[in-house]
């Protein structure tokens, strides 16, 4: 089993206390291009799902009757955990355990896999669950990126927006990407306008300062004392000539 899941169609956590079922499902999953991870009971499975590797599991195949923590308890724990509840769970059930399968689906399981196993059913159930998981992952990513756009709007209000904050969302080719690109353009225009206004304010400030300076000069040069001094200076220049 590869650690990083390269070239794998998805990582499948198999939870079953029966060694033969684990061996069989491990082999069938490998043959189908999946990466299996094995757990002997619900407690082991939850420990794995709550570890750093939890995000790498795409589907859980879960037996019902197990020691320590059975399938119902494990399924309930998964569905009550906000970080795990979106994970598709397929229950492993004997053919006559239809009632158990129904109960599990009511508890949040996506589907069930009847024993003895059939590779075509395994393939179909996994394919459907994996497609649902991928769709959910895309939805979560979309919602996260919508959040980035709303955060950007708040940042514009606070004056803390940086154009590259939205680069990732702007790279999308859908409507959200267009919105992010338009937002970036508008924010850029607002920024440029603000800079122009600041420049104008700066120039006006200089003009005001110059006018003030001129007024001060005029204030001095228009006094009687200054006029006397000017007259005396002119007289001195004349005498020196």
């Amino acid at each position: 089993m590869s650690e990083d899941g390269i070239n794998s169609r998805g990582r499948v956590l198999v939870v079953d206390d029966a060694a033969i079922n684990l061996m069989l499902l491990e082999r069938a999953l490998l043959n189908e291009g999946y990466e299996p991870v094995l757990a002997k009971n619900g407690s082991e499975a939850l420990a794995f799902l709550r570890s750093d590797f939890s995000h790498t599991v795409d589907v859980v195949l879960l037996d019902i009757l197990m020691p320590i923590l059975d399938g119902y308890q494990t399924l309930t724990a998964i569905k009550e955990d906000p970080a795990l509840r979106h994970l598709p769970v397929i229950m492993i059930t004997a053919v006559e355990e239809t009632e158990s399968a129904v109960r599990c689906i009511e508890l949040g399981a996506m589907d069930y896999l009847p024993k003895p196993f059939n590779v075509a059913i395994l393939r179909a159930r996994l394919g459907a669950s994996l497609a649902a998981k991928r769709l959910r992952d895309l939805e979560l990513e979309y919602l996260e990126q919508v959040g980035k756009v709303t955060d950007a709007a708040a940042a514009v209000e606070l004056g803390t927006f940086a154009l590259n904050d939205l680069d990732q969302v702007a790279g999308r080719e859908d409507a959200l990407g267009s919105l992010a690109r338009m937002f970036q353009r508008m924010a850029q225009e607002v920024k440029a306008r603000e800079e122009r206004l600041q420049q104008q304010v700066h120039e006006l400030q200089i003009e005001i300062d110059e006018t003030r300076q001129a007024a001060k000069v005029a204030e001095i040069t228009e006094t009687e004392y200054f006029q006397q001094l000017r007259g005396q200076a002119a007289e001195l220049r004349r005498l020196m000539d």
Binding site: D17, A19, I20, L24, R27, P67, P116, F117, N118
Partner: protein, 114 residues
């Protein structure tokens, strides 16, 4: 003795890997005496939960290899244990003990030689 449709499904599950099929049969032959012993102990101790789990595993394993009668007997034990009706369960366990040797012989015939 063995259901061939079940064996065909099993061969398909292992992708036609004969060595792995032999390994699976060996695991079944190694594990089953222990499961039967677990059922006998659980019956003696009147431990319905332990009896149910052992019978459940033997039922599942037996059906995987097409040993339908062994699977049905295990299922009957599992169901009785699930309802805590195990006062005369020894009779059913004895039938499992009687059935198992024929399953061993049939599986050894099906076991691919390495």
């Amino acid at each position: 003795m063995l259901d061939h449709a079940a064996l065909d499904a099993l061969r398909e599950m292992v992708g036609g890997d004969s060595a792995f099929l032999a390994e699976l049969i060996d695991t079944f032959l190694q594990d089953t005496p222990g499961l039967i012993s677990d059922m006998q102990t659980a019956a003696t101790l009147a431990d319905a939960d332990a009896l149910r789990r052992a019978a459940h595993t033997l039922k599942s394993n037996s059906r995987t290899f097409g040993a339908l009668r062994l699977g049905d007997l295990s299922k009957a034990i599992e169901e009785r244990a699930a309802h805590s009706q195990i006062s005369d369960i020894d009779e059913l366990i004895d039938l499992v003990v009687e059935e198992y040797p024929a399953v061993v012989v049939a599986l050894k015939v099906e076991r691919p030689e390495s």
